[in-house]
């Protein structure tokens, strides 16, 4: 009856199941195959950057032999790459900050305030999922031009914040709703207003959700292609995806250099993501257990 026996039993069973000889190796086998499929194309890009063009032509699926580092050092010493890298960081940083701040405030209202029109507000943002940036791109370009923000990083940051809001709100609302009512009542008894509750309880409790949506917004901005394509015309203002395209068309015969440039431009997002991977999965789970 005690909790000790309750929990001891299943762990024993689980352990018994895990010791089944074919159980674990098969899991690893499947996992290895999946990983190989996921990673192979990325490895092709990264390793291709360490090869020369003649190696790539003679043996397209081979390994670097010998390893060539010039492709990478050329990219890393080029001011163009670093300018575009900085632009990407700037755009992604402010997109994330703006989107998460605005979405958290709006989600709090939708999740915790009782008022008619609340569902309408949620539906408004949910409807945003149906407004792809591609549909709006021409009038959006005209709007940005009217605001005088063409060829300006803010001209992509503001629309990106707006277009990232739906996903962020939709992830954050159930998350904020999951914060137990008891906490809010306890805070109210202790004299906290709804806003006090927001700053003292909701913000810290929703950090995992905030980080999750923040990373999604960051990656979305880092990878975004079509909006910068329309708004940014000067290669000094390019973000990395445009830089990759421009580089690929300027050096279309220099496949190795293209691969090196490409792999260097994806590393920051990969690094950022792997640092916070645990937070992403945890963040989507909700705050109840935290």
């Amino acid at each position: 009856m005690s909790t000790a026996t309750m929990t001891a039993e299943p762990t024993a069973r689980r352990r018994a199941r895990e010791t089944v000889p074919w159980g674990r190796p098969s899991v690893y086998l499947v996992a290895t195959v999946l990983i190989a499929i996921c990673v192979a194309p990325v490895m092709y890009i990264i390793l291709g950057g360490f090869r020369s063009n003649s190696q790539i032509t003679v043996d397209p699926s081979g390994l670097p032999n010998p390893w060539v580092v010039e492709n990478y050092t050329n990219v890393l010493t080029s001011p163009t790459f670093w300018t575009q890298f900085g632009n990407s960081v700037f755009a992604a940083g402010f997109t994330t900050l703006g989107c998460v701040t605005l979405a958290l405030m709006a989600s709090f209202v939708i999740a915790r305030y009782e008022f008619r029109g609340r569902n309408a507000m949620f539906s408004l943002f949910a409807a945003g999922l149906m407004f792809p940036i591609t549909v709006a791109i021409t009038p959006l370009y005209i709007l940005v031009r009217t605001l005088g923000l063409t060829n300006n990083l803010w001209g992509i940051i503001l629309p990106q914040i707006a277009f990232a809001l739906p996903t962020t709100v939709i992830i954050l609302v159930p998350f904020l709703r999951a914060i137990p009512k008891e906490l809010e009542e306890a805070a109210a008894i202790d004299g906290a207003s709804r806003l006090g509750f927001f700053f003292r309880m909701v913000l810290p409790l929703s950090m995992p959700g905030v980080i999750t949506t923040g990373i999604l917004a960051f990656i979305g901005s880092w990878n975004s292609y079509m909006l910068p394509l329309f708004i940014l015309s000067d290669s000094e203002k390019y973000t990395l995806p445009l830089g990759v395209q421009a580089f690929a068309s300027q050096h279309s015969v220099d496949t190795a250099a293209v691969l090196a440039f490409t792999s260097l431009s994806m590393i920051p997002a990969l690094l950022f993501f792997s640092l916070f991977e645990r937070r992403i999965v945890g963040g989507l789970t909700g705050a109840v257990k935290g």
């Binding site: 309750m6 299943p10 069973r13 199941r17 674990r24 690893y28 996992a31 999946l34 996921c38 990673v39 990325v42 092709y44 043996d59 397209p60 699926s61 979405a103 209202v109 939708i110 305030y113 009782e114 008022f115 008619r116 029109g117 507000m121 943002f125 949910a126 409807a127 945003g128 999922l129 149906m130 407004f131 792809p132 549909v135 709006a136 021409t138 009038p139 959006l140 005209i142 009217t146 914040i161 707006a162 277009f163 739906p166 159930p174 709703r177 999951a178 990878n223 292609y225 079509m226 995806p241 990759v244 395209q245 490409t262 994806m266 993501f273 991977e277 992403i280 999965v281 989507l284 789970t285």
Partner: protein
């Protein structure tokens, strides 16, 4: 000029909407004191206002502008003057290229659901177990999702060339028979696209499924284990039913994403080959016939059609499939199921 005057109007609409919803809440508010009502209204306005203004200004408003431009023959310079009514729409629906693109989109929607759904659930089941190196495996599986479409397009484009790495590798392992023209053969290209899409987006599906699985209370698994349920019985009777809301939300995002597909096709198949290879989508059609051809009015009309198709599908989905989830059942559901 037209836009600069319209924008402020739109902004005020955004704020009145927030204010309006607060006003309508008055009769329902439980608190008797008027002071709290004012305060609550103000809080709602201050908290939700900025997001709504941004959203309406940069997302909703441009779509209405697209609807407006769609009635004109317009080259994108100066204000549109050549009003042609619904002529653009008649042209769209009598253009075989557009109808073909719609079919490709439909195929991509269905194939994405059928391929990615089961695979993602399988991945997530696998990764939800306590095995060594789990977090490393997770990171690696999410790698494709994190990479930009431009990079995916560039990389896969190079690999799938006739003399590229994929055909070379197939030759090396003795599968010469499978070597083919992956990108331009119209019988194969759409499947190639499906492979690339699945590869690219499976990571996001897995993140969602894993998150859903971790939201399922451990007590249920413990109880099932006490009852002597097998691994597969547990997955079938606990994990899958409780994963329902997550699966439905993922399917929604997947459908909408498939309808809007642009970057990958545009980068790999370019603006012209996608037609003959049979991978053109509504969005690539829009950019080709609108922006590249300089017919901004026509392009905007195509945009409106894409939007309406997405809207109808999404509303139907929300009404018939998502409804129970968006009504706050996400967090209550596990509790209900435990009662069984």
């Amino acid at each position: 000029m037209n836009e600069s005057t319209a924008l402020p109007v739109d902004r005020s609409e955004g704020t009145t909407q927030a204010r309006g919803s607060a006003t309508t809440a008055l009769p329902r508010a439980a608190r008797p004191r008027r002071k709290t009502d004012w305060r609550k209204r103000l809080e709602i306005l201050v908290l939700a206002g900025p997001a709504i203004v941004m959203f309406v200004g940069f997302v909703i408003f441009p779509v209405f502008m697209a609807a407006y431009y769609g009635f004109f023959r317009w080259k994108g310079f100066g204000p549109p003057t050549d009003f042609i009514g619904i002529q653009n729409y008649i042209t769209i629906f009598s253009d075989e290229k557009f109808l073909a693109a719609v079919q490709h989109n439909a195929f991509i929607v269905i194939a994405s659901l059928l391929i990615q759904g089961p695979v993602a659930i399988g991945f997530a089941l696998l990764l939800n177990q306590k095995i060594k190196g789990r977090s490393l495996i997770r990171v690696l599986i999410f790698v494709p999702y994190v990479i930009a479409e431009v990079i995916v397009g560039t990389g896969w484009g190079l690999m799938l060339q006739s003399a590229g790495a994929v055909n070379d590798f197939l030759g090396k392992i003795g599968l010469d028979a499978l070597q083919t023209d992956w990108i331009s053969d119209p019988n194969i290209a759409i499947w190639t696209l499906m492979v690339i899409i699945s590869w690219k987006y499976i990571g996001f599906a897995v993140i969602l499924m894993l998150a859903g699985m971790q939201g399922i209370p451990d007590e249920l698994y413990e109880a099932a284990a006490v009852d002597g349920a097998s691994f597969w019985q547990i997955q079938k009777s606990i994990t899958l039913p409780l994963l329902g809301p997550t699966i439905r939300i993922w399917a929604f995002l997947s459908i909408i994403g498939s309808l809007q597909l642009f970057d990958l096709v545009y980068i790999i198949w370019g603006q012209y080959i996608s037609d003959t290879a049979g991978t053109s989508t509504m969005a690539t059609y829009m950019v080709r016939e609108g922006r590249l051809a300089g017919n901004y009015g026509y392009g905007n009309a195509v945009a409106v059609v894409i939007f309406l198709i997405s809207l109808v599908i999404a509303l139907a989905y929300q009404r018939f499939v998502l409804r129970r989830d968006t009504e706050g059942a996400l967090t209550e559901k596990p509790g209900k199921e435990t009662g069984r």
